[in-house]
């Protein structure tokens, strides 16, 4: 009767304490340049070695510029130093590194799966809240802080308490131009930004089963936006087909044994859930956020909400603050909101399928005169594949900029950011105040919806733009 999460958890318990905390073994550890330098420094100060460097992959992504000159020089001294620190720490400890000029470099949550190092049934951590992305493979994957990064470096394990178990079942075939991004935005709107706090969420149902690995990663990526550190999906034929032949996947001699092990990874039919939710996705509309929390998502046909109609004082005040920050008036139709920038990228939506879906909308159309639009592939491999398919030419001919891989305009740590007051249609994951740059205003949406916004110069229903 255990859940999938429970089965993986039980197989990773090194030892348990009476208070319910267990020492959980960590199979894979991904590191990037922002949350790891203090952890390596802590090890050095205590004279401790990295216990199993062979389980790790390091890649710079948050700070890297997305322009071609980045390999020769990075203007920002602090960014340069963080990237250099990562290089030094990785090489010093014997950790695999996809450095800035490596064709495999990209966003950590995108390059890990591409390399084949994320496999069903394992535990994976990274000093990054979007690590839950990797739960799409049927893994326990979660974001940790820098102190915990240091703990994993030193011990290959973490003290954890088992989270409560939630299942979200999504049923129905998605309509044309409705995407996994719309599914997860609708889920977050339904359960709220803290609805998943304390939980691991397993996504199930026919809608999820039909999704590619790319789509499943988009869903699990934003589980943290509902408060849950863990999102996961049971592995199946789609998962195994994705993994076959990747560089760090099980070698041919062990492949059948691995698949046999993976096939046993599913929640039992009578598994005990602490909470269950369902979403009927057959009539789902493309979603857009209007506020400063990812829970503020509405179907694109909707209008900016009225704080006066909020349920209580806290919510009224929250909506009022959000509208003030966003520069929006209650009752404004979402499709009347003009945008200055469009960002297609991030660990949420910078995989090949995302770029194909956006290019489909961009093809033969032009970016509106008032809009600056960026397409930032999630990795060197995504970029190469897109270029083989001619997607880069589609984007450039439509007036989009075609960039090098990195976190880019998701988070305001590199040169790609919003200026104060600028409004962005973004495929990223967070619409927090200042997230894309101080004073910037973010509207989250899917890649085809972002491409439609670029063409229309405002938030638009992609189904009308692409008609």
């Amino acid at each position: 009767m255990p859940t999938l999460f429970g089965k993986i958890w039980d197989r990773h318990v090194v030892t348990a304490r009476e208070d319910g905390n267990v020492l959980l073994y960590i199979d894979r550890h991904l590191v990037h340049e922002v949350t790891s330098p203090q952890a390596f420094e802590g090890l050095r100060a205590a004279g401790r070695p990295v216990r199993r460097p062979g389980t790790m992959l390091a890649v710079p992504d948050h700070n890297v510029p997305t322009t071609r000159d980045r390999v020769e020089w990075i203007d920002d001294r602090e960014s340069r130093e963080q990237i250099e620190a990562l290089r030094g720490n990785a090489l010093g400890a014997g950790i695999a590194l996809f450095d800035i000029a490596d064709p495999r470099q990209g966003i950590v949550h995108i390059v890990g799966p591409e390399a084949g190092l994320v496999q069903p049934g394992i535990t994976v951590v990274c000093g990054d809240s979007h690590t839950g992305t990797l739960g799409a493979f049927g893994t326990i994957a979660f974001g940790i802080g820098t102190s915990e990064v240091e703990h994993v470096l030193a011990t290959q394990a973490l003290w954890q308490k088992k989270p409560r178990q939630m299942r979200i079942t999504v049923n129905g075939a998605l309509r044309s131009l409705v995407t996994p991004k719309d599914v997860i935005l609708a889920v977050i709107a339904k359960i709220g930004a803290s609805g998943g706090t304390g939980y691991a969420i397993e996504f199930a149902g026919e809608t999820i089963r039909r999704m590619s690995m790319e789509g499943r990663m988009t869903v699990c990526n934003m589980t943290i936006e509902a408060g849950a550190r863990f999102g996961l999906i049971a592995p199946d034929g789609t998962t195994f087909a994705y993994l076959k032949g990747r560089p760090l996947s099980p070698p041919p001699s062990l492949w059948d044994a691995a698949v046999g092990y993976w096939k046993g990874l599913a929640s039992d039919p009578d598994a005990a859930w602490d909470r269950e939710e369902t979403l009927e996705a057959g009539n789902l509309e493309p979603h857009v956020t209007w506020g400063t929390s990812p829970q503020d998502a509405l179907p694109v046909g909707g209008a900016v909400p009225d704080p006066a109609k909020a349920a209580d004082r806290s919510e009224r005040e929250r909506i009022r603050r959000a509208l003030d920050y966003m520069g929006l008036a209650a009752g404004t139709p979402l499709t009347d909101i003009p945008v200055d920038k469009v960002f297609i990228g991030s660990c949420t939506n910078a995989r090949i399928e995302d770029l194909r879906a956006a290019a489909e909308v961009a093809k033969g159309r032009k970016v509106a005169a008032n809009v600056t639009a960026l397409v930032v592939p999630g990795s060197g491999q995504v970029k190469r594949k897109a270029e083989e398919e001619g997607l880069d030419r589609v984007f450039v001919e439509a007036g989009f900029q075609w960039r090098l891989p990195g976190c880019s305009m998701c988070l305001g740590m590199n040169p790609d950011r919003l200026n104060p007051g600028e409004r962005c249609a973004s495929t990223s994951n967070r619409n927090f105040e200042g997230r894309q740059g101080p004073g910037g205003r973010t509207h989250l949406m899917s890649p085809p919806m972002a491409a439609a916004a670029a063409v229309a110069g405002r938030i638009a229903d992609v189904r009308e733009v692409a008609r």
């Binding site: 401790r48 960014s79 809240s129 936006e225 603050r321 988070l411 927090f432």
Partner: protein, 208 residues
Amino acid sequence: MMEKFGSLDTVGVPLDRGNVDTDAIIPARYLKTVKRTGLGVGLFFAWRYDAEGKELPGFPLNRPEYRGGKVLVAWENFGCGSSREHAVWALMDFGFRAVIAPSFSDIFHNNCLKNGILPVTLPAAEVRSLLDALSAVPGSRVEVDLAGQTVRGPRGDLHPFRIDPFAKTCLLEGLDEIALTLASAGEIDRYERERGKVTPWLFRDLAG
């Protein structure tokens, strides 16, 4: 190694906002440091300062009555979003040693405990009464007793709270958790040997 947590008798600072995310606590541009110290300057930067860098007088942290307060009282889902431990380092560097809220994000909560900041979860109604009391009389004091697991509000109101017993011990004694875990190194070795037989494909060197 984290600082020991003693008891606190200090000014309580009200921050009556929900879903305070870690981007708001410390903006990304402050994350480019390779150190844990000096992050207090960036704490709540966009809420403390205007576009010219002048203090916004209405923001609680800028009001003279609240200066030096070591306990922050906030609303639901405090510390949501990014896992950046810099948010805790910034609170710590600014002088905060405890945060009281109806709920915290899981990662932020963990990060607090690793650094000697006490996250106190209280029922929403009790946090509401604390927020109201601290706002009504700015500069009012709050007492936090970790050993006894209570918060005493400015009106003498007593609020018991729960905390994981091991986390409590670590806070009170300032324990080095890595050293404690390394004492179990033999068990980790044994686990690896056993697991290597079941899933040998996970025991190849990724750097090889």
